[in-house]
Symmetry: C2
Subunit: 348 residues, 2 copies
Amino acid sequence: MINEKEVTIYDIADKLKVSIATVSRALKNDPVVNIKTRKKIFAMAEEMNYRSNNFARNLRNSRTETIGVIVPKLNSSFMSSVIAGIEKVLNASGYHLIISQSSEDVKKEIASAKTMFNNRVDGLLVSLAYDTTDLKHFDIFSKKNIPVIFFDRVLDNPHYTNILIDNKKAAKQATEHLISQGCKRIVHITASSKLNVYEERLKGYQEALATHKIKFDKKNIITCNLSFESGEAAAKLILKMKPMPDGIFATNDNCAVGCMLALKQAGIRIPDDIAFVGFNNDPVSKVIEPNLTTINYPGYEMGEVAAQSLINHLSGTSTMHATNKIILRWEFLARDSSQKIKSRAKNK
Amino acid sequence: MINEKEVTIYDIADKLKVSIATVSRALKNDPVVNIKTRKKIFAMAEEMNYRSNNFARNLRNSRTETIGVIVPKLNSSFMSSVIAGIEKVLNASGYHLIISQSSEDVKKEIASAKTMFNNRVDGLLVSLAYDTTDLKHFDIFSKKNIPVIFFDRVLDNPHYTNILIDNKKAAKQATEHLISQGCKRIVHITASSKLNVYEERLKGYQEALATHKIKFDKKNIITCNLSFESGEAAAKLILKMKPMPDGIFATNDNCAVGCMLALKQAGIRIPDDIAFVGFNNDPVSKVIEPNLTTINYPGYEMGEVAAQSLINHLSGTSTMHATNKIILRWEFLARDSSQKIKSRAKNK
DNA sequence: GTGAAAGCGCTAACAG
DNA sequence: CTGTTAGCGCTTTCAC
C-alpha cells in the first residue's frame, strides 16, 4: 500500500542510457526513432509501469482531450440514451467526458458553462435548460474558438451547430394522424418554454389544423412542465372542458402517460373517447394500456452524431466557422392509443 | 473570433508590479498576503479575465480533482438517478466527474479502469458489470492509495468500501409478502451473475420459503438478463409450467413488467392468477396495470452517499484503510399487482 | 509581507 | 537518428 514513486520518462531514459527526448518520441511511436530503440523503450515503459503524465502533456499542448456536456437533467430515459451515445463515440476517440446538469435552470447552466470553460474543455455539447432564452454565456467559448454544439433543446442562432429533428414536421404528422382518426377538438399539451422544440411542435400542430380547416383555439393549449405529475394535473383541466376534447397530442410521453392514467381512472375510454399521441418513444409508452402512439426519437444516435460532429470540428475535418444544422430522422409509431377507427395496430 | 492570448499570473504580476509568487498566494486567498494587495490582485484578475491553469496546478499538486465513475449501463432509470446524485455532491465540492460504461462486459470494465488510472482520477466509483467475478483490475488503484468505492453491484471483498442495500432482507420481505397473499408456488426471476445483489436476493427468497416451510425447487428459478424482452421470454416459460406458479418475484421491475404484459396477453389475471413483485421502483412500475408491488431503491441517495464517502476518504476525514460497508435503507411498496386478498392498495 | 528561484513531466525547436 | 535545452504556468521553499 506504500505510495510507489511515479515513473517518468527520465527514469526510462536513465535505465536505457538514452535521452528523454528519445523516450518522449518513442512513446508517441514517432517513426523518426530507430525501430529497435522504440521497441526497447516500449518494453521498459511497460516493465516499469510507466504512465504518461497528462498534466505535463496538456500543459505543453494546451489541450485537455476532454469534452464537456451540459444537459438539463440526467435522469430521463431520453437523456441517458444520448449520454450513452456520446460516451461511446468520445471514448472510442480517446476523449473524456465531463458531465454537468443544469437542473432546468439557466443560472446553473451559466455556472456550468463557466466551470467547463475553466476546466478548458476542448469542446462542449449542450442541451439547453427550460428557461434559457439566449446564448450569451457561450460567447466565452466562441471567442476562443472552442466549438460548442447544441442538441435537441436548441435555440436558433447563427453561430453554433444545432442537432435536432424536424419537430414541426413530426408534430404535424402526429396531429394529422389524430385528425385522420376523426378528432375535431385536439388539445396540445406542451411546455411554456421558448426553446425551439416546443415552438416548432406547436407550429406543426397549428399547421395541421390549418391544413384541415380546423380553427385554432388557444384554449386547447395546455402548458405545463411535462412531468408525469403535470400530466395528471392536465387531466383535471381536460375533464372540466366543455365539450371535452376527442384527441390529445402531448409533447412528451411521460406527461401523456400521467394524463392517460388519470383520465382512465375518471372513466374516459382511450382511444374511443379521447385519442392520444405522445412524443419521444419513452419505454413507458409500450407499457401503458393502450400502448401510446408516439414519435420515435433517436436519442442514442443523437448523442453519437453530436459527439462525432464535435470531433470533426476539433480535428479540423469540418471548419470551425461552418455553422450548420444537422437534422436527424424520426419515425411515427402508430399504436393503439390513437386508433379510433382502423383495426388495432400490431404491437410495435 | 481571434484566439485571445491566455492570461497568466505573470501578466497580472506585470501590471501590478508585484511578483508572481504574491499573485499566486493572493489568488488562493492566503492571509499572509496584505489584504489590500490581495484585493488589488483579485480585481485585476477579474478585469483581465484570468483563469487559472489547471494543468500547471495539477502538475505541481499531482491531484486532478476528478473522480471516475464506471457503471454497467448509463441508460436505465436507476443508474441515471445514481449519476445525478453523484454529480450533485461532486460538483458541490468542486470535483469533476468522468464517466465510462462497461456495457456489462468485464473486458470493457478492465479497459475503463485502466483509462481512469492513466487519467489519474483522485478516486473511483464503480458499479460492476454482470460478468465480473474478481476485483484484480482495481489493484493498481489500491497500490497507489487511490480510493475505490463500489455501489449496488458489488463483490464481497476485504479491501474496498461497498455501498448497498440489504438485498437479502428486502427479497425475503418481498417473498414473504407473496406467501402472506396465499402464494404457494413462487417463481423467482433473476440473473445468472455472481454479483452480490442477485445472490443475496436469491438467498432472501430461499429463506422466506424455508421460514414458511415451502420446499425450495430449483425449477422455480428462471435466470435471464433482466431486460424487458427477457421478461417476455420468461412469460413463455411460465405458461408452460405445470402447475403454473401463483406468484412471481422478479429482481427487476423492467423485466417484471415485460413478463406481466406477456402473461396478461395470454389471459392470465394479475394478481388473481399470478401475483407479482418486482424490484427497483422503476417509473414503469406505476404505469403498468395493475401497479407493480416493488422495493423502492434509493438510487439518487446511493449516488450521493457514494460520492460523499469518496470525498471523505480523499479529505482524510475517514481513513484510507478503513474498509466498510454502507447499508442504505429500502422500502417495500405494496401495490395492486400482488394483493390477492386484502382490499386493493391505495395508489402510492 | 514579499520576491527569487527551482522544478513538477513533458514537448519541440534546434543542433549535431 | 539522437541529444540539449528552453519553456508550458503554477506552487513552494528559502531568503530578505
